[in-house]
């Protein structure tokens, strides 16, 4: 019983790491650009397909393909901000919501047209590998994904707190007008923010490939988790998103294990609704960097 519990927790944490990459991206964009990216999941999907094609055509290991997927998605992010998002920034909530929402539909359906709905998987030497500590089993592929996800999160933290550009981003997130007065170029900062967020989504995609199938609608599940984590962790709070993602991974896993195989989603939704009911500002209150 305890072993089952521990196993569920471990499984939850490991997948939570991936959720973290996606949700950090969402909360980063929200904190800096003040817009909710409904299409974040689709960029995970794009990352997955990039890794898939690199693997199936050139035999590149998905982990190695991070070197391609992350910069590619960064570039896409910059273009997205510069050409599309910038246009709707002044228009208010509704056009912003529907822009990224429409983008999400667009990308999903283009993927459907190009790649069909078939599941694409990549087999690596370590895809099936596990090891165990006592009664608890660890899937190597998931563990590596988790480790790299945490590494990327740490790098992001260093970037935001240690570099000038990162600090500029945090400044713009806290107070756009004052940041502009201090000479920070908002468009440049926004481009970087969106670029980084999408790069993280792409990373999530690549890290998922060894143990998760790619298909056009795959992003939906991840973006849903991400949104709940972002709300739970307080909008704009990156550490909050990280912690909340891990919590949600665990909650989902426990739900699947102890309530029922199809109950993972309900557990997550219930968590969201409970948070909204009792702590609408998220677990970490107010706003943070």
């Amino acid at each position: 019983m305890l072993a089952t519990l521990a196993q569920a927790v471990v499984n939850g944490l490991l997948i939570g790491g991936i959720y973290a990459l996606v949700s950090i991206g969402v909360t980063l964009i929200f904190g800096v650009v003040k817009i909710v990216n409904f299409a974040q999941g689709e960029f995970v999907m794009i990352g997955m397909y990039i890794s898939f094609f690199l693997a199936s055509t050139f035999g590149v290991d998905p982990l190695l393909s991070l070197l391609i997927s992350m910069p590619s998605l960064f570039a896409i992010g910059v273009l997205l901000q510069h050409f599309l998002i910038r246009r709707v920034l002044a228009l208010g909530d509704m056009p912003q919501i529907f822009l990224t929402f429409a983008l999400s539909l667009l990308l999903m359906n283009i993927a459907l047209l190009l790649f069909t709905a078939n599941y694409r998987t990549v087999q690596t030497p370590y895809s099936e590998l596990t090891f165990h500590i006592g009664p608890v089993y660890f899937a190597v592929a998931k563990l590596i994904a988790f480790a790299i996800a945490m590494l990327l999160s740490a790098l992001l933290y260093l970037f935001l707190h240690g570099t000038d550009l990162g600090k500029a981003m945090r400044a713009a997130a806290q107070n756009r007008e004052v940041a502009m007065l201090m000479g920070i170029n908002p468009d440049r900062v926004f481009c970087v923010a969106v670029g980084v967020a999408l790069a993280l989504a792409g990373a999530a995609g690549s890290l998922l490939m060894p143990f998760y199938p790619a298909y056009p609608l795959v992003g939906q599940i991840f973006v849903l988790m991400a949104f709940v984590a972002v709300v739970l962790g307080t909008l704009g709070n990156i550490t909050g998103a990280l912690i909340a993602s891990l919590m949600m991974g665990v909650a989902e896993s426990l739900g699947v294990q102890f309530v029922g195989a199809d109950s993972g989603l309900i557990v997550v939704f219930v968590m969201l609704l409970l948070t909204l009911a009792f702590r609408p500002n998220g677990l970490f209150g107010g706003w943070a960097r």
């Binding site: 909530d93 822009l99 983008l103 539909l105 667009l106 309900i266 909204l276 609408p280």
Partner: protein, 336 residues
């Protein structure tokens, strides 16, 4: 001599109504009538959504919750208790209204996109719940409705035209309600809330109450649409009744057509359904992605080019080509 069709806007409405009433008698192709029915239904759903999302700018992406609740209520009453859907449709509306109270209480704490996400979540939760309710709601497989032949008292008709007129009646109801609200103090309060909630509070608008009230109305109407749809297609399951696509379509037609306007949802539905029908005839219904791809391209273009929707384009054209546009003060009620 002033020409009636350039000076009196109601002339065009009369023409439109006449065309609408005569259409099923003139067009015999059942596929075409089916499209008309869908247009009417989704325009109606759009009008219901628009009351909340267009005027008060509460962007719900979870209206399928009420569509489904209406559908299931009337179906359960029909199949389990033999109650006529004419009663069931109202019951469904009431159930939806009751549901909107706790859902609203929860979701209205959030603004903007997070409100939208919360509404998506509630619709999904309902879908998941109904997927599990095997005992009195048939679970994931759903159920077909018993075919009673031509049974008008049980909301089943032999001729498609009957469904058409029912859908038309629903749309007319929705438009009439919107019209009345637009021209009352409630219309002003709704737009005020949509524009600036804090400023609205400062001039005495009870924003919570207004949101709650419009949600009740919006949910009720959406549920009516749900019952109608199930009666029309004779089948119900959670994925159909609580489909995210319904939530999206409800919002989409208003946004494309003209958010916060009377005719916006109608314009939007005609445009989108016409596009959909065209695409189907070109690409066939096999290519799942094409339709939505084009939909989303249309949406992106509208947002970038005319964020307030296309009705504005039409009314500008109308104004340019007729004299009626000059006397604007009586037309647009928000003018005062």
């Amino acid at each position: 001599m002033t020409l009636i069709w350039t000076t009196r806007p109601w002339f065009w409405i009369v023409v439109l109504a006449a065309v609408a009433l005569v259409l099923p008698l003139v067009v015999s192709n059942p596929f075409a009538v089916d499209i008309f029915i869908r247009v009417l239904l989704f325009a109606f759903i759009g009008v219901a959504w628009n009351l909340m999302g267009g005027y008060a700018k509460q962007l719900s992406l979870g209206h399928a919750a009420y569509f489904g609740l209406g559908a299931y209520t009337s179906t359960i009453l029909l199949i389990r208790f033999g109650i006529s859907p004419w009663i069931g449709i109202i019951a469904g509306g009431v159930v939806a209204m009751l549901a909107s109270l706790p859902i609203g209480a929860l979701c209205f704490r959030l603004r903007g996109p997070y409100f939208a996400i919360a509404t998506i979540a509630t619709a999904q939760v309902l879908m998941l719940l109904f997927l599990k309710f095997r005992d009195f709601a048939w679970g994931a497989e759903g159920t077909t409705l018993p075919n009673l032949g031509d049974a008008p008292l049980m909301m089943q008709f032999d001729s498609k035209a009957a469904y058409y007129y029912l859908a038309l009646a629903l749309l007319a109801l929705g438009l009439a309600i919107t019209y009345r609200i637009e021209r009352s103090w409630m219309g002003f309060y709704l737009v005020a809330v949509g524009e600036d909630e804090d400023a609205a509070e400062a001039v005495g608008v009870d924003t919570t109450k207004i949101k709650r009230h419009i949600y009740l109305i919006s949910a009720f109407l959406t549920a009516l649409g749900g019952t109608f749809y199930i009666q029309y297609i004779y089948f119900i399951d959670p994925n159909t009744a609580f489909s995210f696509n319904i939530s999206v379509e409800a919002a989409l037609v208003s946004i494309v057509g003209g958010i916060g306007t009377l005719w916006g949802p109608v314009v939007g539905t005609i445009l989108l359904e016409a596009t959909s029908a065209l695409l189907q005839s070109w690409f066939g219904s096999g290519h799942g992605g094409v339709q939505l791809t084009v939909y989303s391209l249309i949406l992106v273009s509208v947002i970038l080019w005319r964020p307030s929707g296309l009705v504005g384009v039409f009314s500008d054209l109308y104004r340019r080509f007729t004299y009626a546009g000059a006397a604007r003060s009586k037309e647009v009620p928000l003018d005062g």
